[in-house]
């Protein structure tokens, strides 16, 4: 991948990066292109957390089938994140409840956080990038 020709900025600094996924997987390109940034950040050996909130929780839904809209189904990438040492996946309980979803509806193991816990996790981060 041309994007991955540098795997280290040479500084040895490790920062806490949080990626806030707020958008449905399809309809806009944010989720797909956002995932690219997540993978590159992991390649730079940074401390990566992924949060799914608002319609972003739909990105992890089981049974994705994009044939009808003729776009790429990239949901398999979420299952491959472990291979990139990305293991901190969080979903927002309020967003799940509002959409009638539970952890059983999702394709990967996640930690469900309350608003208060989410606030605290966010406060710990050095960099928050929102897609």
């Amino acid at each position: 991948m041309s994007d991955m020709d540098m795997d280290d900025d040479g500084s040895g600094i490790v920062k806490k990066f949080m990626f806030l996924n707020r958008k449905a997987p399809h309809g806009t390109v944010y989720a797909l292109e956002g995932l690219e940034v997540v993978l590159i950040t992991a390649a730079f050996d940074q401390d990566v957390s992924l949060v799914f909130t608002d319609d972003g929780v739909y990105q992890l839904m089981k049974g994705m089938d994009t044939k009808g809209i003729e776009v790429k189904d990239f949901s398999k990438t979420y299952r491959a994140l472990e291979g990139y040492d990305i293991e901190k996946l969080y979903v927002d309980k309020t967003s799940m409840d509002a959409r009638g979803l539970t952890e059983d509806d999702l394709i990967v193991d996640v930690t469900v956080l309350s608003d208060e816990e989410m606030k605290n996790l966010m406060a710990e981060q050095d960099v928050v990038i929102s897609f």
């Binding site: 994007d3 991955m4 920062k15 390109v29 292109e33 950040t41 390649a43 940074q46 990038i129």
Partner: protein
């Protein structure tokens, strides 16, 4: 303070690029540094020199080029997002260059703040 800026929306359709410009200009005026600005998603559309807005409107791309020239800002356009949207080297306005997402991650690592403009 060193600010990195991420712009995720194209010009005119969305205010993100305008707000980012005003933020960058003001930060520099106040004595801060903005070493690099990264254009992603439709934000890559800010970089084309082919844009010709009406005379009575602001020229978003030309404004970025000027700010970059005046203050030595590195304007980086994501290669994957650019190719997907038909933005190539030969179309770039002065001051812009095409590179990888690593340049965005570096801003997060090296600068004091990374500020995102977009939806």
């Amino acid at each position: 303070m060193q600010f990195g800026i991420l712009i995720n929306e194209g010009p005119y359709n969305h205010q993100a690029s305008d707000s980012a410009y005003l933020f960058a200009r003001t930060a520099i005026e106040k004595g801060h540094k903005v070493p690099r600005i990264f254009f992603y998603h439709d934000g890559v559309n800010n970089s084309t020199r082919m844009a010709e807005p009406p005379q009575d409107d602001r020229n978003v791309t030309a404004r970025w080029s000027k700010l970059a020239e005046d203050h030595g800002i590195d304007l980086v356009v994501c290669v994957a997002a650019a190719l997907r949207r038909g933005i190539k080297d030969e179309l770039l306005a002065p001051g812009f260059r095409i590179s990888g997402l690593g340049q965005l991650v570096e801003m997060g690592i090296q600068y004091d703040r990374l500020v995102t403009f977009g939806d």
